[in-house]
């Protein structure tokens, strides 16, 4: 039968799952940048090195420290919602659900939080709750369709992305500036809806967009890590995800768990939108004709983060970092889409992570086996 090695045996450094995940993600990044660099070389060999450095440097391209800090803040401001979308996708993925609808749930969250803030004049915490609930409801629709009607969550998610976009456009038409398609600004309409900064802005050269959204997002990531790995709820969610029938057999309410998972997933994405729009960083354009990419980029961050909430914190930051970095490229030479290109390559490479780990493990095992054989 099976070899009876005790689990107490010391696991080698490279055999640790966390180490492998980090290594794999770093490899994806390196290869992604390398391929991006090659593409840059193709387009224009002369500026390529400088261009790739610009992408990596991001805010360090500013000469003053104050400016760099300010734009470090900006990168963080956008990384927070990205992290939330990534967590949304990840949480659902743990339960065996591919929540491609995060994009639509994000839209719903944006719609609800802005509507509450601008139309109803409610304070920020109510707006946050509204975003949470609205995103959650979009998730629940997917969940109900999945649990009771067996509709594939990827497809229903995609359909709801569009439905959400058009609905939110209609909803927010009521609070747009008269002469533009943008919603009115928070600062001018309802200051109480702007997320508090609790002094954080001071750390980033008075970047007024730096708010509690950033620490909150990180906190939520940690919370999810705890929930998934240490709680009864996490135990149930994961069991439902990997073995629906066994979950049902053991008395877990697997339909309820699917719906609940998607509620939470949706709520996270919804909250992510509120984390951006309630800082005043961006206004919603009611003529928007495509779903914001945040939800889709979340997929990238999730996988780059090794499907781990803590890893995802760093992955979200990294993706945002190179995306922002892309905007400093010399546009006379390189199309700005090059940073999208690099991100997409990195996501594609993330597909090979599983194989990479498998490869690493079999190498480690072979080495061990050889060593043991030698001892005999």
């Amino acid at each position: 039968m099976s070899a009876e090695n005790k689990s107490t045996e010391k696991i080698s450094f490279f055999a640790r799952p966390a180490v492998q995940s980090i290594l794999a993600s770093l490899l994806c990044i390196v290869f992604g940048l390398l391929i991006g660099y090659i593409a840059l070389l193709f387009i224009n060999a002369k500026g390529a090195t400088e261009a790739i450095i610009t992408i990596i440097k991001n805010y360090f391209t500013y000469p003053t420290k104050a400016a760099a800090l300010k734009y470090f803040g900006n990168t963080l401001v956008k990384a927070a919602p990205l992290l939330m979308c990534a967590l949304s996708i990840q949480f659902c993925y743990q339960a065996g659900l591919f929540n491609i609808g995060a994009a639509g749930q994000y839209v719903a969250g944006a719609g609800a939080s802005l509507f509450c803030a601008l139309k109803l004049g409610l304070p920020w915490y109510v707006c946050l709750i509204a975003a949470f609930v609205a995103g959650g409801i979009f998730g629940v629709v997917v969940g109900i369709l999945k649990a009771y009607l067996n509709v594939n969550e990827v497809i229903s998610g995609i359909m709801l992305n569009w439905i959400g976009l058009y609905t939110v456009n209609m909803l927010l038409s009521g609070v747009k500036e008269t002469a533009s398609p943008y919603t009115v600004t928070l600062a001018s309409t309802n200051k109480a809806a702007v997320l508090p900064s609790i002094g954080l802005e001071k750390l980033f050269s008075n970047n007024k967009y730096v708010t509690i959204a950033i620490p909150l997002a990180i906190l939520i990531a940690v919370l999810l890590k705890v929930i998934l790995s240490m709680t009864v709820f996490g135990y149930e969610i994961k069991a439902t995800g990997i073995a629906k029938d066994a979950a049902k057999y053991s008395g877990m309410k697997e339909k309820r768990n699917i719906i609940l998972t998607l509620f939470i997933g949706g709520a996270l994405a919804g909250l992510g939108a509120a984390f951006l729009y309630l800082t005043g960083y961006e206004q919603w354009s009611v003529t928007q004709s495509s779903v914001p990419g945040m939800g889709f980029n979340g997929i990238a961050a999730t996988f780059l983060g090794g499907l781990d909430p803590i890893g995802t914190i760093f992955a979200s930051y990294f993706i945002q970092h190179i995306t922002s970095g892309g905007s400093y490229l010399d546009k006379n030479i390189y199309p700005s889409q090059i940073s999208d290109f690099i991100s997409a390559i990195i996501i594609y490479l993330c597909g090979f992570v599983l194989f990479f780990k498998y490869f690493l493990n079999s190498r480690i095992r072979n080495k061990k086996n050889n060593a043991e054989g030698g001892n005999k």
Binding site: M1, E4, N5, F233, K248
Partner: protein, 514 residues
Amino acid sequence: MADNSEYAIEMLGITKRFPGIIANDNVTIQLKKGEIHALLGENGAGKSTLMSVLFGLYQAEEGVIKKDGKEVQINNPNDANDLGIGMVHQHFKLVQCFSVLDNIILGDETVKHGFLQKDVARKKILELSEKYGLKVDPDAKIEDITVGMQQRTEILKMLYRDNEILIFDEPTAVLTPAEIDELMQIMKNLAKEGKSILFISHKLAEIMAVADRCSVLRRGKYIGTVNISETNQEELSRMMIGRDVQLVATKEDKEPGKVILHVENMTVPSKLHHNNAVKNVSFDVREGEIVCIAGIDGNGQTELVYGLSGLENITTGKIELSGKDITHASIRERSTSGMSHIPEDRHKHGLVLDYSLAYNLVLQRYFEPEFSTGAGFLKKNEINKYADKLIDQYDIRSSQGAVTLARSMSGGNQQKAIIAREIDKNPDLLIAVQPTRGLDVGAIEYIHKQLIAQRDSGHAVLLVSLELEEVMSISDRILVMYEGEIVGEFEPKKTTPEELGLYMAGAKRKEVGA
């Protein structure tokens, strides 16, 4: 060696390793022409692996394979096919939504300009099915036909390819007694035709009945080969396990106590057809007795248990557990009210295959205060301690103990884990559905002992089994199910397998009161 070798197939010194395990360790078996050669061994002994090597699904690290005395290379199933080797796999390799015909021709299609010539194939299949008495409907879909017919499809698949060497990997594990008899006959016919057969089974009686010779494996190692005419079941099981095995369970007489499970007029709808799967069934199970539901597969036993355990809603009727009405109770409520359930499908229902053994061992109890805090956190230490206790107590073997992934464990040990979990709950009622299916005699002995221990300590046991031998040996009372109804109630001492067989086949019935 000469071309007119005595052996159809020789596997010499085969060694096959999997990560962390040597599945076959220098194994040699020789299959004579026209013989039925049985292969015996505990779960995980390496039988399927050895056959997969012969069939080209795996490549052995060491050893040679000879066909008719000539060394051959078998790198994939195509090579095996070309050499006339066919295999009926332990888990059928049939495409559920294809027809019987499509499954048979798959991989060996007759085509004209790339277009399938199904009529040619149909003719050939009907001829074969006539010749060997393998009744099938070529146009029926696999998902609609019985397991027996699926097996006949698998056999036809081999014959259709004119295979000379036929491998049967545990073909009887899923068959009804009548079907087993039929299969035995077919195998004998095939051998008579000159085909050579390798036959894997855990059922010693079957091996004694059909095989000419038997090779035994134990933990990947070759133990020996014996002539069936010169051996008996006891010797075989000793070779296999390395010790004497009690092949028939024994138990003392015991007077049943008060009613634990009371079922009244229960009707359960069917997922497959519009008819009800269980029709108006009533019965009781008492303290200190093992009640067995016997019957041919597909007569509503599965749905009956689903109805009892809450996996499926019942349409009418009433269920009481220890006097408490649980008709509309949730699965969780039933479980906490004293019902344990060893499910029929251990991979689908019984285990979360990608969870550790420890997590699986608390699958029914993780929410209890013993394993989780009021705030909803799991007490991991307690869970691991508890798992270690069960592993020890129930002798569950795995590579890394409590942290082993359930998926990587052998079938027998997976089953042991489920049994440990369900019994350790100390249930008033234990429902066990085919708990010994596919397990070796050692494991079966163990499970039977556990069931009887439950009964002896005054709990009620409801056993669903397709195997008459098991039914006869361990039950106190037998209920026969036919087409969703209970058509007879017997005491094992006052009936015979033959009588039960008639009821199971629907030839006879008597009214049974609850």
